[in-house]
């Protein structure tokens, strides 16, 4: 037995591949990008007996052509020497379609083990799969598993460990009569005689022209399909044989074989999930679809606020203790007043204030993960397709936009689902208007301060305004582009399922961990810097904040922000600080107004009083929230923008665009409201 092995996981989207992957790796994941491309690479590791398995999760895909970057990356990786065994995760309840990828994988000629996932669903539905015949027809081990129920995992690992060096197929038993019967012993997929003749000729030519080429058969098939990548790397001069693209023929014949396999191995194929049908009748109903969607989103929101606030209360008490404890500890060691102030008023206040919002954010991500894993998110694309269509976007674009409610960074990355670069640009431009979770603390703070019983409405309105602005921008872009983009929506609607607690937990934990990291780094540093800016002036350390550097800087920019109702130097400082991370706006306020935490009634009314003292009232608060909703995205988002578009110029353009939009919209609101309210 070898000591180290690299195992690649591949499979259709929605086949439970990630659940299976996570079952092996736990939360110890490393997420990066494949070199040179914007395709995610997820790696994990685990020990099995004497082996160390390095696991790589390849992007979910329906096939391995060279049409998309994901497929190319996966294909290259599989063909390389970096991977020892491929685990083909197939959804047993949708075997027919999943087998297509399997047949393509088999042709690649690397060791493959088929993990037949979701066997629990198959059993529940009364379907049966002949697990003896299937490996005989495919020539590779087929291991039934249920990632959700964690069954068959050990057996799968054992098979992987032993299957490493198989270059020949396992015993293949076929009932075919053809000129190429010899091939049936070596290859699961054998084409019609005419096609096989061509494959033979091209293979021979490839062997002649590129001696030592690995797997000439696969390359020959690719050339017959007129695969761009292979045509470029291994051109061959056989115009008579390669007279046209045989791709359709090859696909058709594969599916003919799949139908044969299904015929021999699947019993009771019909049983569709009645539950999914019933649920879809309701959720995809032409009249009820959109209202139900809005209701579900509202529920998510209410949960985030109410449950989140309740837990938040306890967090604040905890942070209060830490603050008091630290202050006492520092005075016990006779630390200087400056250090004490920096620690309690700067660091603990700034960072602690943000940590107290963790419950709200965790719940939001929890809800989104729940909706995604249940299978509902895909339906949103269908339901919103017509609405999105009027704005020139695909229903598919709605999914990154919804993710934007959690965090803009993964939302921007999710925009990769849109292959048309123009569509993608447009979605990336409007996604930041989907109010991200980092802005939630801002809304909670100002809503609680100034809108009391209507706090939740005020905050919810920000989300709606964000959506409205996004739609308007999309409309404008669509009108300007003048190119009627056709509705090419194509998305799989998986069966509804009870979300796996483990998958959801791992997802939420990743986000929480990111949040804590952000708190520990960016926000920590920002809090310290802000504390310095506000407690040091030209005369050095000062108690009077209005004499500090921060105040001077803020005052400079007052004229720019006064017309939008934000002409206060404290606000300017907070807004500038907010470019590092939106939560810092709240941190800054805490430091600016010398509070310990945010939320206790005493602190809130004190802050309210301080703000009223400088002339900051409900309208200003609303404008503050509005401006924060729309202006320059945080540093992480800008960095992602640059990464996804590969252009620093685009990044600056976006920043400027959002700043301009924020200013114009807030200006309109402030001036109009002032007129109406006669202020």
């Amino acid at each position: 037995m070898e000591n180290e092995m690299t195992v690649g996981f591949i499979g259709n989207p929605n086949c439970g591949k990630t659940t299976l992957f996570n079952a092996f790796t736990g939360a110890n994941l490393k997420v990066a990008n494949w070199p040179g491309v914007t395709v995610e690479k997820v790696e994990g590791a685990m020990k099995y007996h004497d082996n160390i398995f390095k696991l790589v999760d390849l992007p979910g895909t329906y096939s391995l052509t060279s049409y998309t970057m994901e497929e190319q990356v996966s294909r290259q990786y599989i063909l390389s020497d970096d991977v020892d065994v491929i685990v083909d995760v197939a959804d047993a309840s949708s075997l027919e379609r999943n087998l297509y990828l399997t047949l393509q994988l088999l042709e690649l000629g690397k060791p493959v083990v088929v993990a037949l996932n979701m066997m629990d669903v198959v059993a529940k539905r009364g379907m049966e799969i002949d697990l003896h015949r299937l490996p005989e027809m495919l020539g590779v081990p087929v291991i039934p598993v249920s990632a959700q129920k964690r069954k068959g995992l050990d057996i799968l690992l054992h098979t992987i460990a032993h299957h490493r060096d198989t270059s020949q197929a396992d015993r293949l038993i076929h009932h075919h009569s053809s000129d190429h019967s010899k091939k049936h012993e070596q290859h699961a997929m054998v084409y019609s005689d005419g096609l096989e003749d061509k494959i033979d000729i091209v293979s021979e030519e490839l062997n002649k022209k590129y001696p030592g080429i690995k797997n000439p058969r696969w390359h020959a098939i690719k050339l017959l399909e007129q695969d761009h990548e292979i045509m470029e790397s291994y051109p061959v001069d056989l115009p008579q044989v390669l007279d046209r693209s045989y791709e359709s023929d090859i696909i058709n014949e594969k599916y003919d074989f799949i139908e044969e396999i299904i015929g021999e191995t699947l019993v009771n194929k019909e049983k569709q999930a009645a539950l999914t049908d019933k649920a879809d009748d309701l959720l995809l109903n032409n009249w009820l679809g959109i209202p139900l969607f809005l209701a579900i989103m509202a529920m998510v929101f209410v949960l985030t606020f109410t449950l989140g606030d309740w837990i938040k209360g306890y967090f604040e008490i905890l942070i209060g203790w830490i603050s008091d404890g630290t202050a006492a500890g520092l005075s016990a060691v006779h630390a200087g007043p400056m250090l004490t102030a920096l620690t309690t008023d700067g660091i603990i206040a700034g960072v602690g204030g943000i940590l107290s919002f963790l419950p709200n954010i965790a719940i939001l991500f929890l809800a989104l993960a729940f909706l995604e894993d249940s299978g509902y998110m895909a339906r949103v694309a269908y339901v919103m397709n017509s609405v999105m269509g009027k704005m020139g976007l695909s229903g598919r674009a709605f999914i990154p936009m919804i993710l934007g409610f959690g965090c803009t960074v993964p939302a921007l990355m999710a925009s990769r689902v849109l292959e048309n670069p123009k569509d993608r640009r447009r979605v990336m431009l409007i996604t930041p208007f989907m109010s991200c979770s980092a802005r939630l603390p801002i809304y909670i703070l100002f809503s609680d301060l100034f809108f009391a019983e209507h706090a939740m409405i005020a905050a919810y309105s920000m989300y709606l305004i964000g959506i409205a602005v996004a739609m308007i921008v999309a409309l404008v872009l669509n009108w300007r582009d003048k190119q009627r983009s056709k509705d090419m929506l194509l998305i799989e609607l998986p069966e509804y399922k009870m979300p796996s607690a483990r998958t959801v937990f791992i997802y939420v934990w990743e986000k929480v961990r990111d949040y804590l990291t952000k708190a520990g780094t960016t926000i920590f540093v920002a809090s310290v810097i802000i504390w310095f800016l506000l407690n040091f002036g030209f005369q050095g350390y000062t108690d009077d904040m209005t004499a500090s550097f921060g105040a001077k800087l803020g005052t400079l920019l007052i004229p720019v922000l006064a017309p939008v109702g934000l002409g206060f130097w404290q606000v300017v400082v907070a807004l500038i600080a907010g470019i590092s991370a939106k939560e810092v706006v709240v941190s800054s306020f805490i430091v600016l107004f010398g509070m310990q935490t945010v939320g206790s009634a005493g602190d809130l009314s004190a802050l309210h009083a301080s703000l009223a003292g400088i002339g900051f009232g409900p309208l200003n608060a609303f404008c503050m929230m509005l401006f924060c909703l729309l202006y320059i995205p945080c540093a992480a988002t800008l960095a992602t923008f640059k990464k996804e578009t590969n252009s620093v110029r685009s990044m600056f353009q976006v920043a400027l665009f959002q700043l301009a939009t924020a200013w114009v919209v807030t200006f309109t609101v402030y001036q109009t409201a002032s007129l109406i309210l006669g202020m």
């Binding site: 329906y62 096939s63 052509t65 049409y67 309840s93 949708s94 075997l95 027919e96 379609r97 297509y100 791709e247 359709s248 696909i251 058709n252 599916y255 139908e259 015929g263 194929k269 019909e270 569709q272 999914t276 049908d277 879809d280 995809l284 032409n286 895909a378 339906r379 694309a381 269908y382 397709n385 017509s386 269509g389 695909s394 229903g395 056709k486 509705d487 090419m488 929506l489 194509l490 998305i491 799989e492 609607l493 998986p494």
Partner: protein
Amino acid sequence: MTLAEGNVGQVYTVLNSALPQQVEKRMEALGMTRGSQLRVLHKKNSGTLVILLRGTRFAVGRGLTSNIQVKEASEWKTK
């Protein structure tokens, strides 16, 4: 007739399609080959459909459904 004109609950056989090459190959990879069968599950007025193809549900937009030629089939062919 085009798929966009299909009715909910009806099974159809795919004849051919007039789509951009990349899209057509994607559909074929998903199993929408010549002669394959599908059933329409849901339909919006805009021509966006939800279909059942080889055991999987897909939401398909008008730009696709209006370019796929089908004919009515009496029932699923193979069991």
